[in-house]
Symmetry: C2
Subunit: 273 residues, 2 copies
Amino acid sequence: MHHCYFNGIITPVHETTMQINDLGFLRGYGMFDYFQTYNGRPFQWDMYWTRYERSAKSLNIPNPIGKDEAYGVVMELLEKSGLSNCAMRFVLTGGYAEDSISVTKPNLLIISEDTHPSPRSEYEEGISVMSHEFVRDIPDVKSTDYKHLIILRDKIKAAGATDVLFHKDGEVSELSRSNLFIFKGDSLITSDKNVLNGITRQTLIDLAKPHFNVEERTVTLDEVLNADEIFTSSTTKRVLPVTKIDEHVIGDGKMGDKSRFLLNLIDDMIANW
Amino acid sequence: MHHCYFNGIITPVHETTMQINDLGFLRGYGMFDYFQTYNGRPFQWDMYWTRYERSAKSLNIPNPIGKDEAYGVVMELLEKSGLSNCAMRFVLTGGYAEDSISVTKPNLLIISEDTHPSPRSEYEEGISVMSHEFVRDIPDVKSTDYKHLIILRDKIKAAGATDVLFHKDGEVSELSRSNLFIFKGDSLITSDKNVLNGITRQTLIDLAKPHFNVEERTVTLDEVLNADEIFTSSTTKRVLPVTKIDEHVIGDGKMGDKSRFLLNLIDDMIANW
């Protein structure tokens, strides 16, 4: 059964409640982080922790927990879940505000969750995405602001797509909750502007460097539409092929060999974590 | 004692809790509205209700309550508060999400709160604001996204200011939670771009039209700095003078006569509501 840590106390998730005057709830003043455990250990813990601390600092929310204590909480939640692989979500907000606006003491929630792996078929056929002109606010910080994705849910569904590709002024940034990579010839290219600092993105860059010419730079929508292969990366998706953007089919509409090669590399890393 | 309505049930505010998987909390997927009651009746109820419905529609959140029922809830909360004038906050979110992302049934909260009138001295001396280059995301919708204001809280304080004036590319929009008006000669001018559709803003425009040349149009930062008088308008502030922007003192640094005239007009309207 999933449990959560809320300001120092661990209780079952479905029994945990919060007051209604939290600033994350009332004012969108919150951030989160999210990772998975593999073989009973948090994957890339050092990198996730660094990002969590940096997001908190960017949003000017004092982080109330140290790295070692947080690790202990994660391991306890993992044990209580009874799972060997699960997901962990940190949510840090400005805390309860008597007057609905002033920050006092932050609220920190750490939750264990089921993982939500993409269906196997998507690793064969790839996913379709709908392009949408937009740049996220403070994109390098994992703020809790995902309202644009949720507002667009009906449009995405109507387009037969599973996610949205954000672009602006001819440049692409990322999908709603994951980074974007393209293969063109021997180059693996990913945007370095207006993107979330993805841990899986960085892990894949490190894994790919001995094998490909890796470029972190501005990527145009035109380049993406003419790529040999495209995939999206996240904690949950690892390397998930994107084979259709609006009406454009990418490559032969199946997962490409180079993407498959990278997926195997990270899956080996995970298996030996 | 303040009470709140949460999905059909009315309980004391401090006894009311919510689950931790609300999409407003986890994903910033929420909106609100806010008004005051005067003489035992919600001020400009029809206008606030229209805005509430429009915000819900813009964010694609199904509104779970009808106008008459909502009015009944407001009157019940008002009665339970024991106050004749109090504030009411509507908060509507995407609801609880088992998987932390999918919308199911929205959560609607209606809370009675104490009012937070600005100190009397601010109606004499005016307030100082700090200019900041920024445009709110979906500015015409009362989304719960106020993180930029809260991130800036230390900077605003260090600048000796009480609020922030948003501008971009030389054009001003609004303060963090209120609209901006300037007087220049016999003209009353307010921005019509990237601003919240303020009910007090509209009420003041209607009250001012018989007396001034009212212009709703793009307003430059330069015009603001050279205005005769400046004030900001909101439910809470009504007509509150702004007498300093960064290092620039406006007019003679006191509330101006025309602003005072408008404040008297709306206060008369409120007294007779």
